[in-house]
């Protein structure tokens, strides 16, 4: 007769021999590296493609970005006209492409900042204008923002930002990132440029200011305004806005180095801001 039996089976045949903690770290780290790589690729692609997009296309996207600053176009006509005239002179000095046109406007806010956004739109906050003592200092900040437009830094930042948030929401399954893409804070966050881009804009601006006034004193004035404002700022929101133009001590040092190499003076006669800049 057959001998029936139920012997004790060998343990561990049906279960993989593994350590779950290790598997977790290996898989988790691989995933993070992959996501990071994809995002970096997408980001690089945005950077690479931005300078090749016609300015007219960028111009078509400007509306939400301009509206987000809630500036009343009719307000401060004199100041806006004076700012515009100065921007036009700087644009000529900086050899902007023929189709690139800068539009400058004042934002009625105490924030000490200025920024460039899509479509060559530059906004100067009243807080910054009020603190600037010299025309050269104002020229420096305008030239810096114009340089960002010239190099298509804004479009690259926006393009990469949009691509990255679409990619990350796709990977992480969170659609929220795309939803509030056009929110004010997000737009400001996208205006953080890399240190290299800030430096390039600084150097271009210096060149333009020296070309116009014969010396780089405007840069010294501007950085002093930012330093003072940063020191005075008790308000958290305002210090956050500063970060769109981080004030590293190196920035001014780099400009001094450039001036030294080019034989430019970092000091010279300053012109007081024309009255037009303090009238409504």
């Amino acid at each position: 007769m057959i001998k029936y039996a139920n012997p004790k089976p060998t343990e561990g045949i049906n279960i993989g021999h593994y350590r779950s903690g290790r598997e977790f770290f290996v898989l988790g780290a691989s995933l993070m590296v992959l996501v990071g790589l994809v995002l970096a690729l997408v980001f690089k692609f945005g950077e690479w493609v931005a300078p090749h997009i016609p300015f007219a296309w960028e111009k078509r996207l400007e509306e939400p970005f301009v509206n987000t600053f809630k500036n009343d176009k009719a307000a401060y006509p004199t100041i806006n006209a004076a700012l515009q005239a100065m921007a036009d002179r700087l644009s000529a000095e900086m050899n902007l492409a023929d189709d690139v046109r800068i539009t400058v406007r004042l934002v009625d806010d105490d924030t000490v900042n200025a920024l460039a956004t899509i479509g060559g739109n530059i906004f100067i906050y009243r807080g910054l204008l009020e603190r600037l003592q010299s025309e050269e200092g104002l020229a420096m900040v305008l030239a810096h923002e114009i340089a960002h437009v010239k190099h298509r830094d804004v479009l690259a930042a926006l393009g990469s930002g949009v691509l990255v948030s679409i990619a990350s929401s796709f990977v992480l399954g969170d659609a929220g990132g795309v939803g509030d893409l056009l929110g004010h804070e997000t737009l400001l966050a996208m205006l953080h440029f890399s240190r290299a881009k800030e430096k390039r804009a600084d150097l271009d601006a210096m060149r333009a200011v020296v070309g116009m006034y014969g010396h780089g004193g405007g840069a010294v004035d501007l950085f002093k305004v930012f330093q003072d404002a940063e020191r005075d700022a008790g308000n958290k929101r305002k210090t956050e806005l500063f970060t769109s133009h981080p004030l590293t001590p190196n920035r001014l040092k780099d400009l001094h180095a450039l001036a030294g190499a080019q034989g430019w003076s970092m000091d010279g006669p300053r012109s007081i801001l024309p009255r037009a800049f303090s009238q409504p």
Binding site: M1, I2, N6, N14, I15, G16, S20
Partner: protein, 158 residues
Amino acid sequence: MDYEFLLNVGLIVVPLLLGFIFGQWNEKRHYKSILRREAELRTLMAFSSRHIPKGIEVSDPHLVIGSAVISVDYFKTFLASLRGIFGGTMSSYETLLERSRREAILRMKQSARDLGADVVFNVRLETCPVFASGGQNTTRSIEVMAYGTAIKAPVFRG
């Protein structure tokens, strides 16, 4: 650092950690209990053959059922979703399924012993997933049911 960020991270890390600690602890405890009871019930044999061997004395056939519902822990669900991206052996679920099968068979055998049976023939296993709630990332649990025909047969009496 901002509190919302900390909260979001905490909401992921804390359940993962709890899942890891309690999941491991539970699994160890469960295996211990399975091994002990399997030894106790080894004399009550179970077979998957459909036919009772001819020529033996048989009486009192009964349907016996054992079922177990066991949940995977949060940590393993998370690990499985990572595994779902890369592919490969889903080891984190294998222990869950094995424990469920062995537990179900043990309960079936226990029920047979309670009836005074000596052996279970025609043992079959059924598995079905049980979801705590819909959605993709819910913690999964499974039910495994083992059933067979328990009989009294002095030949098989250990």
